[in-house]
Symmetry: C2
Subunit: 450 residues, 2 copies
């Protein structure tokens, strides 16, 4: 039988809405790389009895039990005790662990607080997993095929411990089919549309299995290929990747873990081009996304967050009269921002955005868009780039009468400026800002070509 | 007996590391507002049998079962079927639901894809929960004290459905103790230090119970007060809040859901002050945080992302010689950036940051800091603000020899510029950027006073 795993995440904060559990998700992905499927995750509270019960339940289902959280120094950290209860053993004091904790503090010119001493206790019969990044040691237990590994809840400590010590151990014992997962990242069409384009390829009994997930405007297709050996699984997955490329064309922006900002960055770098950004409603979020990518300083040079009209005028050279005539949220101002940014930065490309992210703003229109389909976003195409060159096109409407979710995105290059209008409907501020960024990066991607 | 709840999240993507489950966390927080404790969350795959088993297990533990995910139109959406299996009933076609779905598409100038017809089926004996934001209707089942409510996995659809329809139903049946949760948000000391300051207040059998969670530099204390009536619970919680204020002083930056950016924004607004930002290594992230706050345009006017030396010189008026002498990552340049931004924006305050977020950069020092304690961050205080006024203080060192994680933060106001040096150790890019932003906002908060 193939090994499988269950993940138990411990902490009251996971059950009272205080903390989103990102650890279990990360561990699932990591376990997949060694073909150990996770059959379930659960979150439970800081309670010895609950911890014991959860381990019992998981132990009946899975060989490998990964636990995160509850190893800290405070009185609500009870994972040590829960494991001891499950194993029916006492906690044992390890002076050598206390020494390490003391050294950890000493290296920072601190004395170890008395509270941290509890971290030097482990259930009898378990061994310490070293923590180089914090004070909480992990706990490792193995008996026959059963493995229990408890790690700190702090993500970077957990990750280093898992990758450095636990994953190599699991690799040795993994004996199942090889799973290879490839991801195809799309933008510009909704989930249903993509599913219809794929047809039978998404059947549930197919191998590779193709799953579909949505994250704001990004649709990800997960191709999960299963075979007796890794190479076969890889070939099967690659075949599907090629098939999907043929079907989805430039709806595909990237593969695997690529972000839109990475893809755009690679294209800029490849063409030795530079980018400037002029953001109003997104308030720095596009710049943040671009600079999330290591090495982005090679193509991203100048960014402006021109949140006020004055900043648009003084920093980007937008004509005051343009703002007065059309309002700050207008295709005309967006266009002038992009042109101004490109000129001032001396860059090859510039993106500008201006819009109403809400919650304040008027309600001229209650039109919605699904937020998943570029075509939907373009239903007002009649006043987009083609017609923006006509001065008399838009009425002089004041910004406060414009609807929340109205956004203009402009891309400037050597040939001029293209501007598109989007209406992201009465969604929340985060949604509108994020979708604006995704569309801005996607417009630049399409402009940069292959 | 008090009602309690279990949450089942469905989707292969939750078990293979593709999607972080934020829904269950949000639902936990919401349930707490009506005093329904969540006893466990679990994530399972898109599999009818697994869904049925999970509902059976949850049903043995909890009266209220909330399910998210698996209601979409694609073949891997099997929640309808799983609930039908659990209830041992057939799926029934509802023409009126199909009509709604068709209308949803028609309003967007689309025909309903054939795939979506499956969403018009519900397990017999259950009723539709209307979805105004998407095509997937929810499923509601009630029998005696048992409630099963299935909602879409798309967060904004799920949230609207829960708050609009399910929460009011749950309010009616909630009969337990009242729980009141207050949160105290701290920055500037680590978890252990704060726990020691609180002492017995963190005992596990205390009511209110005080829990502690860490999110990068932010330490949150959760005060959970339990009483027979809401007013008593509120009074108990407030008493603890006051007690903790006395103990923690200005380590507390805010309460409940307040972010640092919100608190800083309120202080700026209250004092009718404006802010400009000049960011290098954080690449727009401080601006993003500031503008996450609705209404931030009232105090945030100008932002620069000066990722290149040229931008620092041309946009912020940093002397080229300063960069040549001290490097772009230096207290001197940080100081000049802040002064330049404040002057150019005509703002009351300006924040500037420059640093090495990595992964590239030298390795002059392998010094670490815990990233949770401001004091730790200041161990190199000897070359911070006090001494920055001495020109001969820093050697002329080239930036590439400086360690990853070295960051300078400056705050400019009418009196001048204060600059602090931080060393965030060999952590990852995201960590360094986020901690830089938190510290920058915190330095401004402390400067703004009460």
């Amino acid at each position: 039988m193939q090994n499988n795993a269950a993940i138990i995440s411990i902490g009251n904060e996971l059950l009272n809405g205080h903390t989103v559990n990102t650890n279990s998700n990360w561990l699932c992905g990591r376990l997949l790389t060694v073909s150990i499927p996770v059959i379930y995750n659960c979150d439970i509270g800081d309670d010895i009895e609950e911890i014991k019960n959860a381990i019992e339940y998981a132990s009946a289902k899975a060989d490998i039990i990964l636990i995160t959280g509850g190893l800290g120094p405070t009185d609500d950290d009870l994972t040590r005790n829960g494991i001891a209860e499950f194993l029916n053993v006492e906690l044992e004091y390890h002076p050598e662990i206390e020494e390490k904790i003391k050294k950890f503090f000493a290296a920072r010119n601190y004395l170890m607080p008395e509270k941290n001493k509890v971290q030097a206790y482990l259930p009898a019969g378990t061994i310490e997993i070293e923590n180089n990044l914090g004070t909480a040691p992990g706990i490792f237990y193995k008996s026959g095929k059963k493995i229990i590994a408890a790690m700190p809840g702090v993500p970077f400590e957990m990750k280093q411990m898992f990758d450095g010590i636990i994953l190599p151990k699991l690799k040795e014992i993994s004996d199942g089919d090889f799973l290879v997962v490839r991801k195809i990242r799309c933008i510009g069409a909704g989930e249903s549309t993509i599913a219809e384009m794929l047809g039978d390829l998404m059947n549930r009994d197919r191998n590779p299995l193709i799953n579909c997930t949505v994250d704001y405007g990004i649709i990800t297709l997960h191709i999960v290929a299963k075979a007796k050996d890794k190479k076969t699984a890889e070939t099967m997955a690659q075949k599907d990747v090629d098939k999907l490329r043929g079907i989805l064309g430039n709806l595909i922006y990237g593969f695997d873990e690529q972000t839109l900002a990475e893809v755009v960055g690679q294209k800029l770098l490849g063409g030795k081009k530079t980018l400037a950004l002029a953001e109003s409603c997104t308030g720095g979020l596009i710049a943040k996304m671009i600079t999330d990518v290591a090495g982005s300083s090679r193509y991203f040079t100048y960014g402006w967050v021109t949140y006020s009209n004055e900043a648009k005028i003084s920093e980007l050279g937008v004509e005051k009269s343009l703002i007065e005539q059309f309002g700050a949220v207008s295709g005309e101002v967006s266009q002038a921002m992009a042109a101004g940014a490109r000129k001032k930065a001396g860059s090859d490309y510039a993106i500008a955005v201006t819009g109403i992210a809400g919650p304040d703003g008027g309600s001229l229109s209650r039109t919605f868009c699904t937020g998943q389909d570029t075509k939907d976003s373009h239903f007002n195409k009649d006043i987009s780039k083609e017609s923006l060159r006509q001065d008399d096109m838009l009425q002089k409407v004041r910004d406060e009468k414009k609807p929340v979710g109205l956004v203009y995105i402009s891309i400037a290059d050597e040939k001029g400026v293209d501007t598109e209008q989007f209406l992201f409907g009465h969604r929340n501020r985060d949604f509108i800002r994020l979708r604006t960024c995704q569309n801005a990066l996607n417009l630049l991607r399409l402009k940069l070509g292959d």
